[in-house]
Amino acid sequence: MKILVLLSQVPDTTARIAFTNNNTQYDGNGVTFIVNPYDEWYALVRALELKEAAGAGSVTTITVGGADTDATIRKGLAIGADDAVRVDAQPTEALQVAELIAAYATDKGFDLIIAGKETIDHNGGQVGAMVAELLDLPYVPMASKLEVAGGVATLERDIPGGVEVLNAPLPLVLSAAKGMAEQRIPNMRGIMAARTKPLTVVPATAVDNVGGTIRFELPPAKGAVKMIPAEEAGKLIELLHTEAKVI
């Protein structure tokens, strides 16, 4: 089985969020960048588990970005991906990312293309679905479980009030949510091996321009918290009813 994992670089979950250039760009100054947790913990690890269970196949990661993402891409290789591809481009919008990935993947014969549920910076959750449309493949978003047998994938996804179990044929695109796998910490052997695994840089192909983010805003500072003494805790319910008017 040939698996492609979409891997994004994002600011660390605890990173300060600030903007520069008149609030048009994220200020990455002094920020640690990581592999997007959904891509790493769920998409990549499940891909590796499927390959290990089958005892055959390959796991390739693909990232769209500049050379500044190479260290993050190596982290994916250290966790166990066989090889990595970087599309050398600076996309401004999700559709461009999807077009670049689809252009690469179209003739490679991947059985599974797995994205994380969303990136923790843009939170769009769109690229997987767009890649599926551009490649004319079925797509299942936010799967929490994935098994593959006999060319058919069985997936579970959380829906309001329960879980639905779906069958889908391969090739398939999906996005991975919590529950699909457990985080793996790369060991020293993995980190050493990652240095020599292939990281292929491919040039950007043509993309469409459909707009994008014009500026960022930080939320206004939160007003002071109103403290209620523990012995009068019941007053909270009263205030929620009469003052905040939410119950």
């Binding site: 559709l95 769109q126 679905a129 879980v163 707009g211 960022f216 930080l218 403290m227 523990a230 119950i247």
Partner: protein, 312 residues
């Protein structure tokens, strides 16, 4: 320049998110819109009250087959000459809206928080720690509305319901089974949420949390460590790597408020924090706070909620 809105109306009752999306689409268009839906939805004509002039329903599609649904939406958009396609940013919309955008080479606003200002839509980024103003420059545009962002319009009136006739291609996604996970209120739709964390000391102590939630008509949620220790089911985990919610009220009991937890709940309109540690970071993000032991505070809240329920 007509506008269509794609909604999921499966089940016995038209979901709130669908009514919000129809309301929003009609406000965006400045008049009645055409709603597109699928499956076994009932009382579809009542969407007229929210702003739908016509509802087109593809009864033959019953599962979330994003390819069939994309063909449906693109087909209706083409026939109606629609250049604006509104979807809901929920489990259904996220499978379809980006596909439609890719098909039409349209810009997609994933999770619009309201009507555009100067042609720009606001959406949450960095897990709610910032907002982005997004402009769409393509001929067509797809706008996915964040649930719980607009009040539902109810103007009376009835929509014309038409069944979709046409070929949507083969079914690729098969529904094997649906496992119900309790009868509680689903978290992403909940307006009120009562959440608890490690401060509860063990799964056997969740009784009062559930009792308070039931009294308030709220859904229950939990922090990541609680889900990871299997004290509570994973679908209750709210936070950056769990479910992101934006209810009107979020009550957090025994949750310290790590930045990853805040990322999933910071869009709540009112936040109440109950923690015995006065230094818990969550208090900085709260509207109301109580420093106290959960096991002493909860009975007082339950008593007050019972009293309130008796009065109203």
């Amino acid at each position: 320049m007509s506008t269509i809105v794609f909604i999921d109306t499966r089940g016995n009752k038209i979901p709130k998110a669908a009514q919000e999306a129809v309301t929003y689409a009609s406000q965006l268009a400045g008049g009645p819109v055409t709603a597109v839906t699928f499956g076994d939805g009932k009382d579809l004509e009542t969407l007229g009250a929210n702003g739908a002039g016509k509802v087109i329903v593809a009864r033959q599609v019953t599962t979330l087959d994003s390819q069939q649904l994309t063909r449906l939406v693109v087909d209706v958009a083409t026939k109606e000459g629609a250049t604006t396609i509104v979807c809901v940013s929920d489990a259904t919309g996220k499978a379809v809206a980006p596909r439609v955008a890719a098909r039409l080479k349209a810009g997609h606003v994933a999770g619009a928080l309201g009507l555009p200002v100067d042609g720009k839509f606001l959406r949450n980024v960095f897990s709610g720690k910032a907002k982005a103003a997004v402009e769409v420059t393509s001929a067509s545009r797809v706008i996915s509305l964040m649930p719980n962002s607009v009040p539902i319009a109810n103007t009376g009136g009835s929509a014309v319901v038409e069944e979709f006739q046409g070929d949507l291609g083969p079914v690729r996604i098969m529904l094997k089974e649906v496992r119900k996970a309790g009868t509680g209120i689903p978290l992403p739709e909940a307006e009120l949420v009562v959440s608890a964390g490690r401060g509860m000391k063990g799964p056997e102590h969740w009784g009062p949390v559930e009792e308070l939630a039931t009294l308030l008509g709220a859904a229950t949620a939990c922090s990541r460590p609680v889900a990871d220790m299997h004290w509570r089911p994973h679908h209750e985990h709210v936070g950056q790597t769990g479910v992101a919610i934006r209810p009107n009220l979020y009550i957090a009991i025994g949750i310290s408020g790590a930045i990853q937890h805040l990322a999933g709940v910071n869009q709540s309109k009112v936040i109440c924090v109950i923690n015995k540690d006065p230094e818990a970071p969550f208090f900085k993000a709260a509207d109301y706070g109580i420093v106290g032991d959960a096991f002493e505070v909860l009975p007082k809240l339950i008593e007050a909620a019972k009293k309130l329920n008796a009065e109203r």
